[in-house]
Symmetry: C2
Subunit: 199 residues, 2 copies
């Protein structure tokens, strides 16, 4: 039997390890400074979007706490597996496999009951079957689109991403929130019209 004090010490070792999420940089850039965003900032922004926009979820009975837990944890696997750009089809081929190995190690730092709980939340997020996972995934796709549209399509321009690819890659936003997808579709057309996203 592990003492409460040992249990807390183990949990804090996990909290120390995941400080690394702040060093995992993404393709998206910040609206003002235009430097690359990191996963910790991205995860916070998603949480803020959830508490602001939960009313627009397709499911009226959303468990907001579970959505937040998923989003707080969803990118921890990238500490080991790195960020995979949403349009990098080559890296996406083995993305889930690489991330599952990372999940074993990172959640495995926790006491066994909590490792199971957090892993189950990550699996739920990845499977995108529940109302909570669908809304979490919608917000996770909406936020980088919003930042791209606010920065003259920075990441899209850099990688030559076209409107069709943006629409195809992000259409599942509608599974979590049709209102958010309608907004995104209009925003994308405005970005095309402004010349910041190729057709």
């Amino acid at each position: 039997m592990v003492s409460a004090r040992e249990r807390l010490a183990q949990q804090i070792r996990f909290i120390i390890e995941v400080d690394r999420l702040k060093e995992i940089f993404r393709q998206t850039v910040l609206i003002n400074s235009r430097r690359a965003e990191n996963d910790a900032e991205h995860s916070w922004h998603l949480c803020l979007i959830v508490i602001t926009l939960a009313e627009h979820a397709n499911s009226p009975q959303l468990d907001v706490l579970r959505v937040l837990k998923m989003l707080i944890l969803h990118d921890l696997v990238e500490i080991d597996a790195g960020d995979t750009f949403a349009y990098d089809t080559k890296a996406m081929a083995d993305q889930h496999e690489r991330e599952a190995v990372a999940a074993d190690r990172i959640f495995g730092l926790l006491p066994p009951d909590q490792a199971l709980e957090f892993r189950a939340l990550w699996d739920e997020f990845e499977a995108r079957q529940t109302a909570e996972a669908k809304f979490a995934a919608a917000v996770d796709r909406f936020q980088p689109m919003l930042l791209n549209c606010q920065t003259e399509g920075a990441a899209w321009q850099k990688h030559g991403i076209t409107r069709d690819r943006v629409l195809a890659r992000n259409a599942h936003v509608a599974e979590g929130s049709t209102a958010l997808w309608d907004y995104a579709a209009r925003m994308i057309e405005q970005t095309v019209a402004a010349g910041h996203l190729q057709t």
Copy 2:
């Protein structure tokens, strides 16, 4: 009557504005790169700590969702008011006044009902009277101590902060979690013993 579409557009203007939280830098440095942490990363780390350590709160009936909402929002006022170092007694004199003006502007970007809800959460956090606010404040004080102890007392050394000041400034962690305060007190003594915090 504002349409649902206009309401969503107003909420998204708020979401765009708060991207600036990622540009507000703190005195604490990250464990690995040792660069200054920003408020968005800090806020994410606090959320992760809450879902990991909620079982150690003094209150067994903690509303974890409300704790998370408070912490997601708690530093938004610093977009206008700037970060106030926890040991800067001069800046702390008018800190709440400056931050309350910022809260008026920033939460005021939202639809009125939501502006009121978020402002009430920030006021609750600041007042530190409820079990949720006490635990949120405990985590908000514990995390920078943890990062300081993991970085050879970087921010404390830079500003000549002594053990007595650290203990006095952070003692209210015990109001949210005695277990976390016991851990912190041991951690501080180890940091003193290692020569990274002056007595």
